[in-house]
């Protein structure tokens, strides 16, 4: 054989070997493995080896307890909060090392659309704690065709934290109030409100509240995007005005969490928060100079001192306030998990009244078990009672969208509309809506 042929043959041989290995293993349904030995593989965004905050410490304690109480050995892998969703999905799609059980943030529709999680409907409906589970929580993890894909543990509310010094006559209630307050506070060089308006989270929190309150909505029961309506346009016009007049800081549109700084320094009168925000809002300085530097208890101190107070989210003039309760934290079992029984045991262990309450307190949310809600730490706390009342009064669960890009895309469109005031709002919304509905 001449040299060229030899080289080709070698190359072909190598290619064939590799291709056959990979095609044999991938491309088809990953076969369920035999009962796994060894510890349960858990992925969370909590760092139990090097605890930095209350949630990390909670996980470390839980892993220790679950070993003694339920004889279950759990090994946690800390995956940063902005990678865990992608990593779990990548592991499943590429047929890689999938964790046995994973923490899932409120991106359930992302996982459902990609078939990343195992259908847990039977497990959940047959579980001893099923009747104890709050229906609102359950709705957030149920797909549009009635299947349950994760077990919800955390119920977060949204509200306004505000400095009483900046709002001596009471909190702003409607968008008109906010604009008036903005004009007043701008004279002192302060902002009326700050919020996270970027990276999809904005769409899920602040913008959602506004759009829904004005009468628009993101998704219909079939999972299609339906936000290109005159009501949504009104909501976005408000945000445009708010940003153009500089009543809210421009940094609200940037990535990351720098939008918190103006409120922490007393330069912004109000802050659109999640019920868990107090964990991170420290140290604090009120507009009239009072300092609260007590770690996660700073907000509590400020509330007790009367420097800070809590209010319902902003509503459209004459309309009710609305908050998004579809974003839950919980646990799910990825497709390809090698220890499904162990994963279920882990979930069952956590879904006990006291354990679920511990998790919720450590994270800064309400628990999803009604019995856990009766825990003294919630009952005796004005803060949590307020959060609970707020969720019951304003909470709304939206159907899952067919297209997981919806939140990010809508957020991007809103930011573009803010930065380019000449664009027509309805046209841009329609463009985005059509594109989302035609994809995936």
């Amino acid at each position: 054989m001449n040299k060229a042929k030899k080289l080709c043959l070698m190359a072909a041989l190598i290619l064939t070997v590799i291709t056959s290995i990979t095609w044999a293993a991938g491309g088809k349904e990953v076969a369920p493995a035999a009962k796994a030995t060894g510890p349960l593989n858990l992925w969370t965004k909590f760092n139990d080896q090097n605890p930095q905050n209350t949630q990390d410490k909670w996980l470390a304690a839980t892993i220790a307890n679950i070993k003694t109480e339920a004889n279950l050995e759990v090994k946690n892998t800390f995956v940063p909060y902005d990678q865990i969703v992608s990593k779990v999905n990548l592991a499943v799609q590429a047929g890689g090392d999938v964790p046995d059980v994973s923490y899932v943030d409120g991106d359930i529709d992302f996982f459902v659309n990609n078939d990343t999680l195992i259908d847990l409907t039977d497990f959940v409906k047959g579980a001893p704690w099923f009747k104890d589970l709050s229906p609102a929580a359950l709705k957030g993890v149920t797909s549009n065709d009635g299947k349950i894909y994760a077990v919800p543990f955390l119920l977060g509310g949204h509200m306004i934290y505000y400095w009483t010094a900046a709002y001596p006559d009471g909190p702003p209630k409607t968008t008109d109030d906010l604009l008036k307050a903005g004009a007043r506070l701008a004279k002192d060089g302060k902002f009326a409100i700050t919020f996270k308006g970027s990276e999809g989270t904005g769409a899920q929190m602040f913008y959602f509240s506004l759009v829904e309150s004005f009468g628009g909505t993101y998704t219909n029961a079939k999972g299609e995007s339906v936000f290109a309506t005159p009501e949504t346009v009104k909501a976005i016009q408000f945000v445009r005005e708010l940003m153009a007049k500089k009543y809210a800081p421009e940094v609200a549109l940037a990535a990351g969490f720098d939008f918190e700084t103006p409120f922490k320094d007393g330069n912004s009168g109000a802050f659109f928060a999640g019920s868990w925000s107090y964990v991170y809002l420290n140290p604090l300085k009120s507009p009239d100079g009072k300092v609260f530097d007590n770690g996660a208890a700073s907000v509590d101190d400020a509330l007790k001192a009367g420097a800070m107070a809590i209010a319902d989210p902003i509503s459209a003039p004459g309309k009710k306030a609305v908050t998004n309760v579809s974003g839950f934290g919980g646990f799910g079992i990825p497709v390809g998990s090698k220890n499904v029984e162990g994963a279920k045991a882990f979930i069952n262990y956590l879904m006990q009244t006291k354990n679920a309450a511990d998790f919720a307190i450590a994270y800064g949310c309400l628990p999803t078990l009604t019995s856990s809600m009766k825990d003294s730490r919630f009952v005796d706390s004005t803060y949590w009672q307020n959060v609970n009342a707020s969720i019951n009064k304003t909470g709304k669960a939206i159907p899952m969208n067919k297209n997981p890009k919806m939140a990010q895309k809508l957020n991007d469109v809103i930011i573009t509309l803010i930065q380019k005031p000449n664009l027509d709002i309805m046209t841009e919304l329609k463009k985005a809506q059509d594109e989302l509905n035609s994809g995936m």
Binding site: K3, A4, L7, I18, I21, T22, A25, G26, W43, N47, Q49, N50, Q52, N53, T77, F78, V79, P80, Y81, D82, Q83, K87, L90, A91, Q93, A94, G95, G96, D97, G256, F257, E260, V279, Y280
Partner: protein, 280 residues
């Protein structure tokens, strides 16, 4: 004559001034990061921001030393960088020798193909690599990153080494061959010693590239124990608050080995870059 000398003196002074200014601008971000790393929690965020720390402190570095960054991530990065650079050398050297010394039918085509591989955006291959890695049970090991880095490093290392081989006159090898050496022996005893500077350059370029690599590491590694330094930088940016003095201390710690290596071996780097980019 005096006029020209003066002109030259002024010209020289201006040139130096301009270069000093440019150097200062180029190094400013690093200097500022360095200064920030010596600040304390209370003095990092001040208005107006200060360049020098009002109070020098090692808090940032202490936090880094106590974290996984120092204990786990940096050693991982070091292992990956050193081993993959070492592995790349013989592979690239053999191939470079082949292209440099032999005329064979597919030589040009293969050279173009290999160099062309450098232009593929690496990200696209990561899912496929992830799949191969999982199937072969290599996930979260040093092995998989080393393979990726080697494959990434071979093309440009080959290019650099070939330039050095080309520069060695064939007469030296022919003398060795006449004396009875096989081609491989002449490679080992004649060509390689003569082109050692080029090999060192290749090793160093690879070392810097793999030390700094981020994308493959973040996609392919999940376990804490296998994490590399650049990925570990995320540890210091928690969801809601960033301690900039610790973050910049971590940046300085990550960049220190590479900067020191560069400053010490700069001639080697320059040679590799000049010869590599200018010759074809």
């Amino acid at each position: 004559m005096i006029q020209t000398k003066n002109r030259r003196w002024i010209g020289s002074a201006l040139t130096n001034l301009a270069l000093i200014a440019i150097c200062y601008l180029m190094i400013y971000p690093v200097l500022y990061g360095l200064m920030t790393s010596f600040k304390t929690q209370g003095t990092v965020l001040t208005m107006p921001p200060s360049f020098l720390p009002p109070k020098w402190s090692l808090d940032g570095y202490r936090a880094v030393m106590n974290s996984d960054m120092f204990r786990v991530y940096l050693p991982n990065t070091a292992i990956n960088a050193i081993i993959s650079s070492l592995v790349t050398m013989p592979i690239a050297a053999l191939a470079a020798y082949s292209f440099s010394r032999y005329k064979f039918r597919w030589s040009k085509a293969l050279q173009l193909a290999i160099l062309g591989l450098m232009m593929i955006p690496g990200l696209t291959n990561l899912v496929a690599i992830y799949r191969i890695g999982s199937v072969l049970k290599l996930m979260n090991t040093h092995f998989i990153l080393i393979i990726i880095y080697t494959a990434g490093g071979v093309p440009f290392t080959l290019w650099i080494i070939k330039a050095f081989f080309d520069a060695i006159p064939r007469e030296m090898e022919e003398a060795a061959l006449i004396d009875g050496c096989s081609p491989l022996m002449s490679l080992r005893y004649v060509v390689i010693p003569l082109s050692m500077p080029g090999l060192v350059s290749g090793f160093l370029m690879n070392f810097v590239y793999t030390w700094n690599e981020f994308l493959a590491a973040v996609v392919l590694l999940t376990a804490n124990s296998a994490r590399t330094a650049t990925v570990g930088l995320y540890d210091f940016q928690s969801a809601y608050e960033i301690a900039y003095h610790v973050l910049t201390a971590a940046c300085i710690v990550i960049m220190l080995p590479v900067v020191v290596t560069f400053v010490v071996a700069r001639k080697s780097f320059f040679r590799a870059m000049m010869d590599g980019a200018l010759k074809g």
